[in-house]
Amino acid sequence: MAMTIHVDIVSAEEKIFSGLAEFVALPGESGELGILPGHMPLMTRIKPGAVRVKVQNQAEEELVFVAGGLLEVQPSLVTVLADTAIRGHDLDEAKALEAKRRAEEALQNQGSALEYAKAQSELASALAQIAAISKLKKRGH
């Protein structure tokens, strides 16, 4: 029987693959990595690309595309923490800046949003008053 290694591929949103494999190939930070059972402990970033898993007793390889992530290797265990989104320092930075900008904008528009809500509730109560008055009038006549 061929030697096997336990492979888990998970993303923050779901579990993608879990099972025994004979061989795993994935795009490492500094080049394509091929992992066989008994690999030395390793931790690295992986680039966006395909993870190929040669599953035990299965002719076809499992293909999983990841948008980058982290890889941990122990002699009998491979864990791929896949990203669900394409990550990059600049990209993350842009997202953070965008979030900040939105917060500042909201702070400035705070008055208007609050006024809007207030106006809406005033309008609703005014409408209710009108409805009540017209009902009273109908009854009176």
């Binding site: 923050a12 390793l42 970033r45 982290l70 993350d92 965008e98 979030a99 909201a106």
Partner: protein, 289 residues
């Protein structure tokens, strides 16, 4: 006593309300199942990354101590990430979460915390914090029914960056923890610095080979760990939201049913009274002739 027609209109309007609450109850029930599945789907990642972080913190890297792991004695500036829902009509869910948030804000202020920054995830928390006059540094709303990590990265990074730059001493997360369909509990957790009991004990002492180097990998891992914790909180909060809404709407439908029953009784009584009155008038009239 109100006339028969008025009561009839009232009954009609309550019936319409009941139809709406019943529909909302059923929608929430179907969304609840999906939300719970998503919450469970997020668990393997959270578990793996926790184990990895625990292994890492135990691995002997003497020359590098990540800022996330350094505990500060003097806490003067605190960050709070508040997870709430976007929409209302879910009972006391947001009220409970925000009460816990408010209490901890007061608590920090009494302990001499000078600066509090808030990240609001969800509309209700955002509105509350703005009304409160808290310093909201980032927010995200309209998450929809499926939480996407992508939407959370930016707002959470604002907090993580502030912590890394030394602008914040501690960062907390508050959300509604899903216990079961009937029970949700507000939960306040310390996100940063990462506490030892949270990481748990490592299962083995691995001397990893790092590529490209230890610092880069640890940085990435810990940032993802914090994000995964926030994501988990958001996923739980969504499951809580749908359950709470379902329960609240069920109660509303039941109440509407009771009101309809009472009104129907009143209506029947007035109708009976009107008939009796008319009959006695006819009898009285016939006797007079």
């Amino acid at each position: 006593m109100a006339s028969g027609k008025e009561i009839r209109t009232k009954i009609k309007s309550v019936q319409n309300t009941k139809k709406i609450t019943k529909a909302m109850e059923m929608v929430a029930a179907s969304k609840m199942r999906k939300a719970q599945e998503r919450m469970r789907a997020a668990r393997p990642y959270a578990e793996k990354i926790r184990r990895l972080a625990a292994n890492l913190s135990a691995a002997n890297i003497t020359d590098y101590k990540h800022p996330f792991l350094i505990k500060k004695d003097d806490v003067k500036r605190v960050g709070l990430i508040v997870v709430t829902t976007d929409k209302g009509l879910c009972g006391g869910l947001n009220t409970n979460t925000l009460r816990v948030a408010l209490n901890s804000l007061k608590d920090w202020e009494s302990k001499g915390v000078t600066e509090i920054r808030v990240t609001a995830i969800g509309n209700k928390g955002l509105g509350f914090m703005q009304r409160l006059g808290a310093k909201v540094v980032s927010h995200v709303t309209q998450l929809g029914d499926t939480p996407h990590l992508e939407k959370l990265i930016g707002p959470v990074k604002v907090m993580i960056d502030a912590f890394q730059n030394g602008e914040l001493d501690e960062v907390y997360l508050v959300y509604s923890r899903f216990i079961n369909t009937m029970k949700q509990e507000p939960q306040l957790e310390q996100l940063l610095p990462l506490t030892g009991e949270r990481l748990g004990t490592p299962e083995g002492n691995w001397d990893y080979l790092y590529e490209p180097d230890a610092q880069v990998v640890i940085d990435e891992l810990l940032v993802r760990y914090v994000e995964a914790l926030v994501y988990q909180g958001v996923a739980e909060n969504m499951a809580s939201e749908q359950s709470a809404r379902m329960v609240a709407m069920k109660a509303a439908s039941d109440n509407a049913g009771n009101v309809i029953g009472e009104l129907q009784l009143v209506y029947n009584k007035t109708r009976q009274a009107a008939i009796t009155k008319e009959l006695s008038e006819i009898v009285g009239g016939a006797a007079a002739v």
